[in-house]
């Protein structure tokens, strides 16, 4: 029954560099999630750690995260997520909010 | 461990088992007397001697029914009860205000209460104030040097235990062989609210102290200082604890007592190990920025 942890290392098709500043957004509310995003030298890759009560959707998570990284060309960045049953649409929305906030800071 | 006849609902009998024979004078604490028999009948307050020393006794009467506030029965602490208990504490403080530390009377709380008054009138008038008033009075008495010992004999449930028990310097409990209940909510209700199967919760609660019900688990969390396994053990245990608490206060070791002291005990006994870690982290982070928030001079 323990929480499910998914760790992924993704590489963007075109690397545009890391986010500017470490940023936290969101609340792990019901059907929602929170995101920590921060720059880190990772040989151009993006490291993701996701903690969720939901199991069995690892390929879906990977597709959603890959879509986000392709859209942003993010590289050298660490992303950590606490999820509580968010839908893919909400996941993408929060990731983009985190990205925007981290670059505005 | 042999099962014993429960002390539930028998707060008045427990008083007689604990204090010096025939010494309990109900409805008088210091200069305060509680003359109206219909005022806060669920709360029993008075003065006794314990090992020859003047002691304030505060208990619940499980057989009382407050006719003015019909949600108050079976040991529930209602608005009148909460304020009556607070008055007994303030009267104890006032009576010994001029006395040196070692002569300040002890307070013994006999704990057998299932809850606070859960009614509409209670919410309209603010039940939360009554029980908070009692807690603040107890904390004040404790910090002013009175030794406060809670003796759990039956039900020590959630908010009612917060109110009547958890502000004590030291908490003693009868063991589970007396059917002693210490918890926030029965597991069946927890299961319904947090949406986890009862069987799973039962399995986890076998060895997870932050979650489980009963005096042994509270012991490992530091929530209960000492467990006694027979009613005959209550009186000597309380006399000992009063002496120990008074000694600690005389030595300026207030921080080893009360809710804060129970935090350290919980870490020592392995039941609450996260608490000190996050506190240490905050202390460190604050120390790094404190200068920015100090006034410019």
């Amino acid at each position: 029954m323990a929480l499910h942890t998914l760790e992924l290392t993704l590489e963007p098709a075109a690397a545009a560099g890391p986010v500017k500043a470490p940023t936290h957004i969101g609340v792990t509310g019901s059907s929602d999630l929170e995101v920590l995003i921060q720059p880190e030298a990772l040989d151009g890759k993006v490291a993701v750690k996701l903690v969720t009560p939901v199991t069995g959707f690892d390929p879906l998570w990977e597709r959603v995260l890959r879509k986000f990284i392709d859209e942003t060309s993010l590289s050298d960045t660490r992303i950590e997520i606490n999820d509580n049953n968010a839908t893919p649409a909400v996941v993408l929305l929060r990731l983009h909010q985190a990205f925007t906030a981290a670059n505005a800071a | 461990m042999e099962m014993q006849e429960s002390m539930m609902g028998r707060g008045r009998e427990a008083i007689d088992m604990i204090v010096d024979p025939e010494s309990f004078q109900e409805n008088t604490v210091g200069a305060q007397s509680f003359d109206d028999p219909e005022f806060g009948p669920g709360a029993v307050v008075g003065t006794a001697t314990l090992d020859g020393k003047t002691t304030t006794i505060i208990a619940s009467d499980g057989n009382a029914f407050n006719e003015k506030f019909p949600v108050v029965y079976a040991g529930i602490i209602g608005m009148e009860e909460g304020y009556k208990m607070a008055q007994a504490v303030y009267a104890s403080i006032a009576a010994d205000a001029e006395k040196p530390l070692e002569e300040k009377r002890a307070l013994v709380l006999i704990v057998d209460t299932p809850g606070n008054g859960p009614g509409k009138v209670e919410e309209i008038f603010g039940m939360n104030k009554a029980t908070a008033a009692y807690q603040l009075a107890l904390a004040e008495a404790r910090l002013k040097g009175h030794a406060i010992i809670a003796m759990v004999i039956g039900r020590a449930i959630s908010g009612a235990f917060l109110c009547h028990g958890l502000q004590a310097d030291s908490i003693v409990s009868l063991d589970a062989n007396y059917g002693t209940m210490i918890h926030v909510m029965p597991l069946t209700s927890v299961s319904r609210i947090i949406k986890k199967p009862l069987e799973v919760l039962e399995e986890i609660s076998k060895d997870n102290a932050v979650f489980a019900a009963g005096p042994r688990f509270f012991y490992s969390l530091g929530g209960v200082g000492l467990i006694v396994d027979h009613v005959d053990g209550m009186r000597p245990a309380i006399i000992d604890r009063v002496a120990e608490v008074q000694k600690a206060k005389a030595e300026g070791k207030q921080d080893t007592l009360g809710p804060w002291g129970r935090g350290a005990l919980g870490a020592e006994r392995g039941g609450r190990v996260e608490r000190p870690k996050v506190m240490a982290l905050m202390n460190e982070e604050f120390a790094a920025v404190a200068g920015q928030y100090a006034p410019a001079r």
Binding site: - | E123, A132, V184, M279, A290, P295
Partner: protein
């Protein structure tokens, strides 16, 4: 406009715990302690397979209002109803403790310390009390908070702000009552027993928990203001709450003592006069008490506009 400026006109009711914490203190002055980057999450939730939060659902830190250091505790109702577990409870306890220690340090260092340079604590409540997933640890933390509130007496004023969705209930209803000054919006709710439990105890005919207006009449900001349980009633924006805190922050601690509802033999006497009134009236509804306080249009009080309410309402005096 900066993020802080954007926050000011926002609804307090809808605001997250972190936005409330940031917005209540001066722009750019807030330092979070044990914040999300520390990643202190609850192992007890993890064991149960439930989602965790990097701040365990509570924002703690220090900011400034003018010359006053302001220690802030802000609860996040969206995370398990703002419930208090081992870590969140410890963060709350330790914030008050740090404020008291900081006060003592400053007083020792600066004999000329002014009232407005002394720290205050602000608690933004949004909670039903104990987190059932780690109930015992949460309960013990509540007792520690009460202990710290008493230790803060005469030194560090503690201000409660209540205007978030969940309100302040359960054991945290005690804690709120035990603070020095309470600021509410009309959407804030304060009490001990949640509506569902009252319904269960008394029956649906006596108390229908799904009746929103009834719930607000019984525990809402306007009612608590009439009863004297809320010292101040403000509009639902971060800047309105902030304005009230700004007014209070520099006051001497003796002024706060005078705002208390409980915490002394004298206040207990006064509360007992209210309890005697409750016994005598046996009100069926809070409206009965509003009428008793001298409000001619008692039944309509919940519906009149805020400004009209504030200018015409009569508060209960005993």
């Amino acid at each position: 406009m900066s993020n802080w400026q954007n926050l000011q006109p926002r609804s307090f009711l809808e605001a997250s715990a972190r936005d409330r914490a940031l917005g209540l203190v001066d722009e750019g002055s807030f330092t979070e302690l044990a914040g999300p980057f520390d990643r202190v999450t609850s192992p007890h939730l993890e064991l149960l397979g439930d989602a965790v939060a990097f701040d365990d659902g509570i924002v703690t830190g220090i900011g400034r209002i003018g010359k006053t250091p302001v220690f802030v505790i802000s609860q996040e109702g969206k995370f398990i109803g703002g419930s208090v577990g081992e870590i969140g409870g410890a963060k709350m306890v330790n914030t008050i403790k740090l404020a008291i220690e900081f006060h003592d340090d400053l007083v020792a260092k600066h004999p000329d310390l002014t009232d407005e340079e002394k720290p205050v604590v602000v608690i933004s409540f949004e909670t039903g009390g104990v987190r059932l997933h780690e109930a015992n640890a949460g309960l013990l933390a509540h007792a520690e908070v009460m202990d710290q509130l008493q230790k803060a007496r005469g030194k560090v004023p503690v201000i409660a702000v209540i205007g978030s969705k969940v309100g302040g209930f359960g054991g945290m209803g005690f804690v709120a009552a035990a603070t020095d000054a309470i600021i509410m919006s009309e959407f804030g709710r304060l009490g001990l027993t949640g509506p569902e439990v009252i319904e269960q105890e008394m029956g649906k005919e006596e108390f229908d928990a799904s009746d929103r207006a009834l719930v607000y009449r019984t525990t809402g900001g306007r009612h608590k203001y009439i009863m004297g349980d809320a010292n101040f009633l403000v509009q639902d924006s971060i800047e309105a709450f902030r304005k009230q805190v700004v007014e209070l922050a520099p006051l001497p601690v003796s002024d706060f003592e005078a705002m208390r509802r409980i915490g002394s033999p004298e206040t207990v006497e006064k509360q007992l006069r209210l309890v005697a009134l409750a016994a005598e009236m046996q009100p069926q509804d809070a409206v009965d008490v509003w009428a008793k306080a001298g409000n001619e249009n008692a039944a309509g009080l919940l519906d009149v506009p805020f400004a009209e309410f504030m200018s015409t309402v009569k508060r209960l005096a005993v």
